[in-house]
Symmetry: C2
Subunit: 232 residues, 2 copies
């Protein structure tokens, strides 16, 4: 009976995992589609993004409900408990990544009404990076892979560098041609939204490490406690 109970509980956790993986896949696709529309200037490419957002929202509610039920009826402890709490946090981050994809689409539509400002290289690169971060932090969650989670956290510096580089380049466009200002600003805002996607992936990666180790890496109190110094 105890064994049967454990099997049932594991099934619930597995279901939570599957739903979070689906959310991550949706979030990734939304970013991919909006950036494809931006680069190829073809509005049909992001046509499904609002549908994906709806599914993302629905999954968020389902996961929160399932987590609440599991906590109330199964009274999990230790790592199972941390897993369920992590699921409710990851959940919120993935939903907000979906919101950011919607924000990006709005700026992409502003750009679609004007001739292209410049060939886009850094923004698609930034989008690829943050999509990989989203994929990796969820893989780290499912496989309980601390190293992979840590690589997501470390990768965020590169995203910040790209964001700053994009800002500097677009500032020169703005200063040399007032007609470029609105488009350059839209591109800057897109890069900021992508940066935030990276921030959410970083938050997820931190939650994953906490879940696995029961150790908080979010705000190391001394340099000694930094994960890098622990050989991760």
């Amino acid at each position: 009976m105890e064994q049967e109970h454990q099997r049932q509980f594991d099934k619930y956790l597995e279901d939570l995992k599957q739903k979070l993986m689906r959310m991550a896949a949706l979030a990734e696709t939304m970013i991919d589609n909006t950036i494809a529309e931006l680069v190829q200037r073809d509005e049909s490419l992001a046509a499904k993004v609002p549908d994906y957002e709806e599914e993302l929202n629905r999954l968020q509610l389902e996961i929160d409900e399932a987590a609440l039920n599991l906590l109330a009826t199964q009274q999990p402890v230790a790592k199972d408990l941390r897993f369920i709490l992590a699921a409710t946090k990851i959940n919120s981050d993935l939903e907000r990544i979906g919101d950011l994809a919607i924000n990006i689409t709005e700026n992409v539509r502003i750009l679609a009404a004007h001739p292209p400002l410049k060939p886009l290289i850094d923004i698609p690169r930034m989008a690829d990076l943050v999509r990989k971060m989203v994929r990796d932090c969820l893989d780290a969650f499912v496989r309980e892979d601390v190293l992979l989670a840590q690589s997501v956290i470390d990768g965020d510096d590169l995203v910040d560098d790209l964001k700053n580089q994009i800002l500097r380049e677009l500032l020169t466009y703005m200063i040399s041609d007032p007609k470029a200002i609105e488009r350059a600003l839209a591109l800057i805002l897109i890069s900021r939204h992508l940066e935030r996607v990276g921030d959410h992936a970083t938050n997820i990666a931190e939650d994953v490490i906490y879940m696995i180790q029961g150790r908080d890496v979010r705000h190391p109190r001394t340099p000694k406690e930094r994960p890098a110094d622990l050989g991760l």
Copy 2:
């Protein structure tokens, strides 16, 4: 004994509440100080912001740890369970508001190196609005006040309007004078950070309503389910 146990449990919940209130007060002060520095051009005004952020981070860890312990040892159900889950989510939102205050400070420092672009009216107004949203959503949490939480959600539209107004005005500055571009951009980014503070307050308000009612207002499935239609 049962009564003693309940009293002890209530004390734990009360402690969680106090810590969240302290976090909200810190987040509010951080925004207040950074915007005061921006308006009065006096770097000493935001000097304590990094200390406040450190305290915010510490409180976040303490609350997550306390929540985990409560879930593991007290096995709460129904509203107590929703309260603890809400605390862990509100917690994350408040910590990120602190991060946003730090981001604002960075842009304020850019502006401090240049003569003022224009008298600032809308940004301080926007800051007042979002600070009030932060205060109100936490008051709603502590007093279990659905109406107050709903007013926070409704107030977010005003913040978005202000953000758009600020963008339009600063665009005209940028277009008429290339020397204004960097400063105008810094102000636009500050307004975006403030908007995100409002978003976090809205997220908290939604969590508060869910906690009180066990009903999710985050993504109403049909217009009929919208809180406004329920007379809130």
